[in-house]
């Protein structure tokens, strides 16, 4: 589905011809097997065929988000420059129809920048690499980690195929299933569910522009109706966005009865979001039992657990016991101090989950600790970062940095150990926000702190930025500084701040070693500015 309303149907035969042409074009452009190729191609047919074409050549593609109009293009250029160097990329491929003329912008990087319309040549089967071995790299999935480090999860063909097989065993897809996806293909959920699973298993998929869906969320439901959509994977906030922003007249006559599976992942799943979505679209035939919560991350290809069939299971527990004893003690839903978590289900076939103390020893059922995972489809490593790879594993288990507990073999995710902020399925490192804030004149050097707080209405987190300034009591100065900070965050990081607070010098709490204690600052912010307390321990 194109943004201008045009529809393009791509058959498997068309796709194969295009993939062969793309592989040939990439080879003719001088690319070789094992070369890392960065694809910045927006929402386009060519993105799909170039991604698959690069793999067919034996090269290693990675998809990166395109620049948006509000982003500072110089900042974007620097970001791509850093990525090209870190990934030791052999080429960047752009798309000629991109709204921003990226090809010109990126010229001069340490690797060639190639517009996809110049990838030419008669489709030549000799461009295809021999059938890859299971251990050969298929693609790299970049993800943002703590400290703002870009980490490229390297996935082998074997891991990706084992993952899709496991997913198919857990939920047997039928040939008449139809996936409907608005997710970008640079996100693991979008790539695996929107493209690769339908392709490997063999059923139809309907892809739309993520940027368009953001402004017009009704197109997702219209696509489900129009194409008889049965499946969808998306982060929790997308439920809230549909509830709040889909206009009644856009959905009044839609039939959503065929929609039998909406799997949520990429960020914590919230009870209120599930209920609100099911209620809002019940009149169109949507059933709450179609909703399912899952848990995963780019490092395990996509997911490690998924909820069982039926309405999502909800566990009501005591906030006090959770915070005091790191234990999930059951409590009646009507009792004061009860909070709810949604089951993300048991581990998928081929995956294991354990909850551990800080020293790595496993916790009993209902004990809250770090979630560690192990699976047959784990990433091989972080690309060119053996240091990060070593730190990510403990005795073969991947340390997720998330906090959770197990009940009856099902996983409940309650929060995060790290300070990473997740807004709408996107990971944001607070360090990046703080560093950008401290460049803004008026903010005291080294005295900005950023963290996330739950935003129940949006179904995700809001970013709070607190800055020390010399004139915290001058309203005109404060507003001028707030405007500068907001503009910088959107232009440099594509982040919209939920709230900006200017405080007097010395307000921000630092640890004895001078590091910012973000959870202490979050607690202080709540006490001082009256935001509702959050159940999730940090």
């Amino acid at each position: 589905m194109h943004e201008d309303g045009a529809r393009e149907i791509i058959t498997a035969a068309d796709l194969w011809t295009d993939v062969l042409s793309a592989a040939t074009g990439l080879r003719n452009a001088g690319l070789h097997p094992d070369d890392v190729v960065i694809l910045i191609m927006g929402h386009s047919r060519q993105l799909i065929t170039t991604f698959l074409g690069a793999m067919a050549l034996g090269a290693v593609p990675t998809i990166v988000s395109t620049a948006t109009a509000r982003l500072d293009l110089e900042v974007y250029r620097k970001r791509i420059d850093v990525l090209v160097r870190c990934a030791a990329a052999a080429a960047v491929i752009t798309h000629p129809a991109d709204a921003i003329p990226l090809h010109d912008l990126l010229t001069g990087l340490t690797c060639p920048v190639i517009s996809s319309d110049t990838l030419t040549g008669t489709a030549d089967p000799s461009a295809l690499s021999p059938t890859p071995s299971p251990d050969q790299t298929a693609f790299i999935q970049y993800t943002s980690g703590s400290g703002g480090v870009q980490k490229g999860a390297v996935h082998t063909h074997g891991a990706v195929l084992r993952y899709i097989e496991s997913k198919h065993r857990g939920y047997p897809f039928a040939p008449d299933d139809v996936m409907v996806s608005w997710l970008p293909l640079y996100h693991d959920l979008g790539l695996l569910s929107g493209l690769l699973t339908p392709l490997v298993v063999g059923f139809r998929t309907v892809l739309m522009s993520p940027l368009q869906w953001v402004r017009q969320p009704g197109i997702l439901l219209q696509a489900v109706h129009e194409y008889g959509g049965t499946l969808c994977y998306m982060p929790n906030f997308a439920l809230n966005h549909c509830v709040r922003a889909v206009r009644e007249r856009d959905v009044r006559d839609l039939d959503l009865r065929r929609w039998k599976l909406v799997t949520l992942g990429g960020e914590p799943v919230r009870v209120g979001s599930l209920r609100a979505f099911a209620e809002r679209f019940a009149a169109q035939g949507f059933r709450e039992s179609a909703l399912r919560a899952g848990y995963g991350m780019a490092e395990v290809v996509e997911g490690v657990t998924v909820g069982r069939e039926g309405p999502p299971k909800v566990d009501w527990i005591s906030v006090a016991t959770l915070q005091r004893d790191a234990r999930a003690e059951p409590l009646a839903s009507t009792a004061p101090g009860a909070t709810a978590f949604v089951s993300c289900g048991p581990p998928k076939d081929g995956a294991e989950v354990q909850i551990v103390r800080d020293d790595g020893t496993p916790l009993p059922e209902r004990g809250v600790g770090e979630i560690e995972v192990r699976s047959e489809y784990m990433m091989r490593e972080y690309h060119r970062r053996p240091d990060l790879t070593r730190a990510a594993f403990r005795e073969g288990w991947f340390r997720t940095g998330d906090l959770g507990y197990l009940v009856g073999g099902e996983l409940y995710v309650v929060g995060r150990k790290s300070d990473l902020i997740i807004v709408g399925g996107r990971n944001i490192a607070p360090e990046e926000i703080e560093a950008a804030a401290e460049q803004v004149p008026g903010v005291v050097a080294g005295r900005a702190v950023a963290f996330g707080v739950a935003d129940e209405r949006a179904g995700t987190e809001r970013v709070i930025l607190i800055c020390e300034t010399a004139q915290p009591d001058d309203p005109a100065q404060q507003i001028a500084l707030e405007r500068r900070l907001r503009r910088v965050m959107t232009q440099a990081l594509e982040i919209t701040l939920g709230e900006v607070r200017m405080v007097e010098r010395g307000w921000i709490i630092k640890t004895s070693s001078g590091k910012k204690a973000r959870s202490d600052n979050r607690d202080k912010y709540r006490r001082q500015f009256g935001s509702a307390p959050e159940a999730i321990p940090r």
Binding site: A69, R70, I219, R247, R483, V488
Partner: protein, 84 residues
């Protein structure tokens, strides 16, 4: 429905954006201040503003017009509301 004065439309939009979207009721939002490109609200808000406009003035803005460029200031949004 007869259309209200532009100043009234601007004020209602301002209250909605500052209170509901920014959650910052005292923010002194000006008519020409860039909303999305200035980082005050995100591009998801385009859709919330469209819902608000339909509920308040019964004006339906078709999907293709819901872009950041078309709705980046109070002035632009109010002008579109007054077109009906």
């Amino acid at each position: 429905m007869s259309m209200p004065a532009k100043s009234k439309v601007l004020d209602q939009l301002r209250t909605f954006i500052c209170t509901e979207l920014m959650q910052h009721p005292s923010y002194p939002l000006t008519n020409s201040e860039p909303l999305m490109s200035g980082g005050l609200i995100d591009s998801f808000s385009v859709a919330y503003i469209a819902v608000f406009i339909e509920q308040t003035w019964d004006v339906y803005i078709p999907d293709p017009e819901l872009t950041v460029d078309n709705m980046d200031t109070l002035d632009l949004i109010a002008a579109r509301v007054l077109q009906g």
